[in-house]
């Protein structure tokens, strides 16, 4: 189970946003929809433990993220949450393989090379394992970023605008990859987007109202 209850967040500029109570069952795929400024990204960051809400409860399974200490939250995020951003933020100083290794390392998990290669292989990018990210095509980079998000077999996969800059065909492929990998890890998938093409693909959708 993944959800929020009575969450409000206050931005640096002083404006506050109140998010609707919401919850998803394990393994469900959700689209988080709404125009710019409706709080999609904020909600996604709160769900990912990247942002602490000013008030309210955030839960993943039995855990209350809003109650975890800083270090515990870091560890929980590393082990149970996979995030794919619109800008992929692969670490260019490291090879593809080591980018995945980094995810294992920061989560405090064992760094098994076979497992890493297996995940890369599943996503069809095993052959670029030794390449640095700047040598990858956009499609390959997208797959590597997804591989990094799922390498720790997270309970929750969060994607922030993964498709908005892509053409229809690539958009379709990315959505298929995300849902397929979420299924493979039995993870709850939440995609925050204003991209209408996503709406029909996922079984559930949460519409956020634009802020007044």
């Amino acid at each position: 189970m993944l959800g929020i209850r009575d969450v409000t967040h206050r931005y640096r500029d002083g404006t506050t946003i109140t998010l609707p109570n919401w919850q998803a069952q394990d393994g469900e795929h959700w689209a988080l929809l709404g125009p710019s400024g409706s709080g999609k990204t904020t909600l996604l960051h709160i769900l990912g433990g990247l942002l602490r809400p000013q008030r309210g409860q955030v839960f993943i399974g039995e855990r209350r993220l809003d109650q975890l200490g800083e270090r515990a939250l870091d560890q929980f995020r590393g082990q149970h949450i996979g995030v794919v951003f619109q800008t992929l933020h692969l670490v260019d100083a490291l090879t593809v393989e080591n980018n995945l290794r980094l995810a294992r390392y920061f989560a405090g998990l064992s760094q098994d090379r076979n497992q890493i290669l297996e995940v890369l292989d599943r996503l069809g990018v095993a052959e670029v394992a030794r390449h640095h990210p700047h040598r990858l095509s956009q499609g390959q980079a997208q797959r590597v970023a997804l591989a990094r998000a799922i390498i720790n077999e997270p309970a929750v996969i969060l994607a922030d605008e993964p498709t908005s800059a892509l053409d229809d065909k690539t958009c379709q492929q990315v959505l298929e990859l995300l849902t397929a990998q979420a299924l493979a890890c039995h993870a709850t998938l939440v995609i925050a987007t204003h991209d209408a093409r996503v709406r029909g693909v996922l079984e559930h959708a949460l519409e956020l109202e634009p802020a007044e």
Partner: protein, 432 residues
């Protein structure tokens, strides 16, 4: 993957600026290392050479020059003192022991020193081959002299008048008075290694025959009593027994006397008494050595400051490099936080990078410093003034590494704090 490898990966990506900082740091550390090695070895050497010599008595002049010439053998003597004056010092009740030195000649830049076997014992010298001299015109070579000249036991050589050092001394060759090598000394790491030792009467003899107005002693009587002179050397205590009666008309001279006091009390009165005696001057090696180190110290301090300037510049380079790189790296850092890295980890990640640079710079600097000291030492060895090697390791060098690391840490603190403060949501929210 670990922080070490992660930091290394970033260093490799910016290899050029990393290399620049490492080199800058290494040059600074190398400069300081060379100075450390030099001043340590010079001081060691000076202390060893001057050990247990309470006072040097020689001709009037600069006390520093007297010490340099007769203890360290790196300057020309102030002159000579009459033998009967030297006797007076030897027989003084506050004097426990003396070693006479008669200088004047050299062979291929190495000084020929007329002295007694006590001089050899003073520095713990012992023959590695052959034996000490028993008779006049016999010579014992210091270890380096033997190495450099290739002379061995049984060989003969002739001294050259003058001791200014260097191979090309323009002095007159005493060809009619060749010395025979009877022994070669073991390495003592003291001044002994680069001296040629003979009996005092040998020096007199050479000059007695050769010169009308040579170094000192001359004319008929110097060369005329080989038997007597042999006896003098035999009991190792120069001239005290046989020639005391010669009186002021004896023209034989010594260059200096190395004196050991009977008691510490002598230091209070004896120098004053000696200085008041016409031609004599007393100088204390400990005092002059300290003065010498102090004078050298001013120059060394300047160089050392220069070394630290380089180290600080390297520190600034590390700081600027990290600080600038942080702008590009903040997305990486936010991503790492997303992957579960704690704030502390990111702080340590930046710090590790700076420490790695510092350690590489320091180690490279130490290596360079030792190589430089060895190379410079080799060139000094050519001129025979000092033996300095790069193969000495000092505990201060560990301090140098520590200080370099400290500079690295200081340089990295501000960037590391910034990394620590990385706000994930805000950074990634901006990131598109």
């Amino acid at each position: 993957m670990n922080l070490f490898r992660l930091s290394l990966a970033y260093l490799r990506r910016n290899a050029l600026s990393a290399l620049l900082n490492v080199l800058l740091l290494a040059l600074g550390i190398a400069t300081i290392t060379v100075l450390l090695l030099f001043s340590y070895q010079v001081e060691q050497r000076l202390t060893r050479d001057a050990a247990d010599i309470d006072m040097v008595v020689g001709a009037k002049g600069s006390p520093m020059q007297l010490i340099l010439s007769s203890v360290f053998h790196i300057d020309v003597p102030t002159g000579n003192i009459p033998l009967h004056e030297a006797r007076w010092v030897q027989n003084h009740p506050l004097v426990a022991g003396t070693i006479p030195l008669a200088l004047g000649d050299s062979y291929r830049g190495f000084r020929i020193v007329g002295t007694t076997p006590r001089y050899v014992r003073h520095y713990g010298g012992a023959p590695a081959g052959g034996s000490l001299w028993d008779d006049d015109m016999e010579a014992v070579l210091g270890a380096r002299v033997a190495e450099r000249t290739g002379l061995g036991v049984g060989d003969r050589f002739a001294g050259v008048h003058g001791i200014t050092g260097g191979e090309a001394v323009g002095g007159e060759v005493h060809e009619d008075h060749p010395y025979t090598v009877t022994g070669v000394l073991r390495h003592t790491n003291s001044v002994l290694d680069r001296l040629i030792l003979v009996s005092v009467p040998s020096v007199w003899k050479v000059h007695g025959y050769d010169h009308e107005a040579g170094l000192g002693p001359e004319h008929e009587h110097a060369g005329g009593r080989p038997a007597q002179d042999g006896a003098v050397d035999g009991n190792g205590d120069a001239q005290s027994d046989d020639e005391g009666a010669q009186g002021p008309d004896d023209e034989r001279e010594l260059t200096a006397l190395l004196v050991q006091y009977q008691s510490p009390l002598a230091a209070v009165t004896l120098p004053r008494v000696i200085n008041s005696r016409g031609p004599l001057q007393a100088a204390a090696p400990a005092y002059e050595t300290a003065r010498l180190m102090q004078m050298m110290g001013i120059g060394l301090d300047t160089l050392r400051a220069f070394g630290w300037v380089l180290v600080i510049a390297a520190g600034l380079g590390v700081f600027i490099g990290l600080y600038n790189a942080l702008k590009d790296r903040r997305y990486d850092l936010a991503q790492m936080r997303t992957l579960g890295a704690s704030r502390r980890r990111l702080f340590n990640h930046i710090l590790t990078e700076a420490i790695m640079l510092a350690v590489m710079g320091a180690l490279l600097g130490l290596a360079l410093g030792h190589v430089a000291a060895e190379v410079l030492g080799q060139s000094f060895r050519q001129t025979q003034q000092l033996e300095i090697t790069g193969a000495v390791f000092l505990t201060q060098e560990l301090w140098l590494v520590g200080l370099a690391v400290a500079v690295g840490i200081v340089a990295a603190v501000i960037p590391a704090v910034q990394a620590y403060r990385t706000d994930i949501a805000e950074t990634l929210g901006r990131g598109r």
